[in-house]
């Protein structure tokens, strides 16, 4: 069976800057894959290409076997996306917004379920622009999971959340993988990667410097130690 997300020798430059420089990795269904890397390593560019928001210069990106650039509405319905900047309309109210977004999918609504799990009920009637950072974060996550995606790209899903909310989000994300979704989480948190991920991809300077099951990548040390040794060496080289 082919991987749900498959990146092969992907390249993308902006002017002279090689944001992604021959990256190869994959993510499987039923697994949480954590993508780690320093700022500017090319994670966001790579994920944007997989989300259909950007185009590669060379190499291939496949999500559920499809090139995401210009993919169909049915493909987009199977892929959930949580953006770094949220992308939430500032004048909307959370529950109304989720109901609206849910109406774009053919599957039955799971708005109530997500509102309950992510504790969005207290914020139901507040305009998005008046929500706290954590509430916005949880709303963006709910929006990404509305369509019961087969693949979910979650950009720092717990950044800025309090410890209880982090646990709730980790449970939710784990649950998504357990029902069979391929979940790709970009994060700067080693704790998040260690608690959540089945597989880890470490990116530095546009390339993948390590990928595989968490224990394999950690190679007997902690993920943090391994990360610094890999990304420092890469930065120095």
């Amino acid at each position: 069976m082919s991987a749900a997300v498959e990146v092969r020798d992907l390249r993308r430059s902006f002017g002279r800057v090689r944001a992604v420089d021959g990256a190869t990795w994959s993510a499987e269904s039923g697994c949480v894959t954590a993508v780690l890397g320093p700022n500017g390593a090319g994670k966001t560019t790579m994920i944007e290409i997989l989300e259909g928001l950007g185009r590669a210069d060379a190499g291939s990106a496949r999500v559920l076997g499809v090139d995401p650039w210009g993919a169909s509405a049915d493909h987009r319905a199977r892929v959930g996306v949580m953006l770094q900047d949220g992308g939430l309309p500032t004048r909307s109210r959370p529950v109304a917004l989720l109901r609206h977004l849910a109406s774009l999918y053919a599957v039955p609504s799971r708005v109530e379920e997500l509102v309950r799990i992510l504790d969005l009920e207290p914020a139901a009637g507040t305009m998005v622009r008046r929500l706290s950072g954590g509430q916005r974060q949880r709303l963006a996550l709910a929006a990404a999971l509305l369509g019961r995606p087969d693949v979910a790209f979650l950009d720092e899903p717990t950044a800025g959340l309090d410890p209880h909310a982090r646990l709730d989000v980790w449970d939710l994300v784990r649950g998504e993988a357990d029902r069979g979704a391929a979940v790709v989480v970009t994060t700067h948190s080693f704790e998040e990667a260690e608690r959540l991920a089945d597989r880890v991809v470490i990116v530095a300077a546009g390339r993948v410097v390590a990928s595989g099951p968490l224990t394999e990548v950690a190679a007997g040390t902690s993920l943090e130690e391994r990360y610094f040794s890999l990304t420092r060496r890469q930065a120095a080289g």
Partner: protein
């Protein structure tokens, strides 16, 4: 245990399905756009309240001179032009500029709605708001004695659609290239400038040099085309040509330079 959230035990099969049908998606998004537009005080101000004040003010006053014909017959098409500019240009430019800033365009672009669905929904929402404006402002004009030439109505309707397409394309060009604050400033400035450049006052009533400039702006051209159609039941061919040129310019520029994120 970490799996007590009920995610896995929900009643569904656990798998993603297809998107809702395209018509349903566009209908849902159009409804969402309309609720946002009509729930926005500033938008209502430029879409309805300011044009209403312009209509009442110019129809009931005796100056400035509006040229030949009854004042209300000159004023109403001009105010309808102003309404089109408010909704299709100013409102769209500002909304799209800020949606771009906050990543809303990117988010909706990755949902089943997609970029094309978003664009279609926005245009439909603009047309619905314009229809509402025509009912309110046209109704007020009729109450004040406006007598549009029935024979000119089809041309006026077509010109309204052409003008809408032109202004939406110019709004997207602006919103897709400048920063949100820049869009806000420029869109409002152009609204005020166009107000004085042949939108509510016929271009032939302006000082000559200014009238020529006004005639070449999309607002002045649409104003003249609507006045010719509704006041005299004639087709202002050059005016239509000027609008088409702006449409081509706006659409080509937006296709070339529009960026989905800042």
């Amino acid at each position: 245990m970490t799996h007590e959230t009920g995610v896995s035990s929900s009643s569904d099969t656990g798998h993603g399905g297809p998107a809702a049908p395209s018509l349903a998606r566009v209908r849902a998004q159009t409804g969402h756009e309309l609720r946002t537009l009509l729930g926005n005080g500033e938008q209502l101000l430029v879409a309805l309240i300011l044009p209403t004040m312009a209509l009442l003010g110019l129809a009931l006053a005796h100056s400035p001179s509006l040229g030949a014909g009854r004042r209300i017959d000159v004023v109403t098409p001009g105010v309808l032009t102003l309404a089109v500019i408010s909704t299709a240009f100013t409102g769209q430019a500002i909304a799209t500029g800020f949606d771009r800033r906050y990543g809303v365009l990117r988010l909706l672009g990755v949902t089943p709605l997609g970029r094309s669905g978003l664009l279609v929904s926005r245009v439909v929402a603009v047309l619905v708001v314009e229809a509402l404006q025509v009912v309110v402002l046209g109704g007020l004009g009729l109450a004040l004695g406006w007598a549009p030439r029935v024979a000119g109505l089809p041309v006026a309707l077509a010109a309204g659609v052409l003008g809408t397409a032109t202004f939406v394309s110019l709004a997207l060009l602006l919103a897709g290239t400048l920063r949100a604050e820049g869009v806000l400033a420029v869109a409002n400035l152009l609204w005020v400038l166009m107000l004085g450049l042949g939108v509510v006052l016929p271009t032939d009533q302006l000082p000559r040099a200014l009238g020529t400039v006004a005639r070449l702006t999309p607002g002045g051209a649409l104003g003249d085309v609507l006045r010719a159609a509704l006041q005299h039941a004639t087709l202002d061919g050059p005016g239509v040509g000027i609008l088409c040129a702006w449409l081509l310019l706006g659409a080509a520029g937006a296709l070339r330079w529009f960026r989905w994120s800042e």
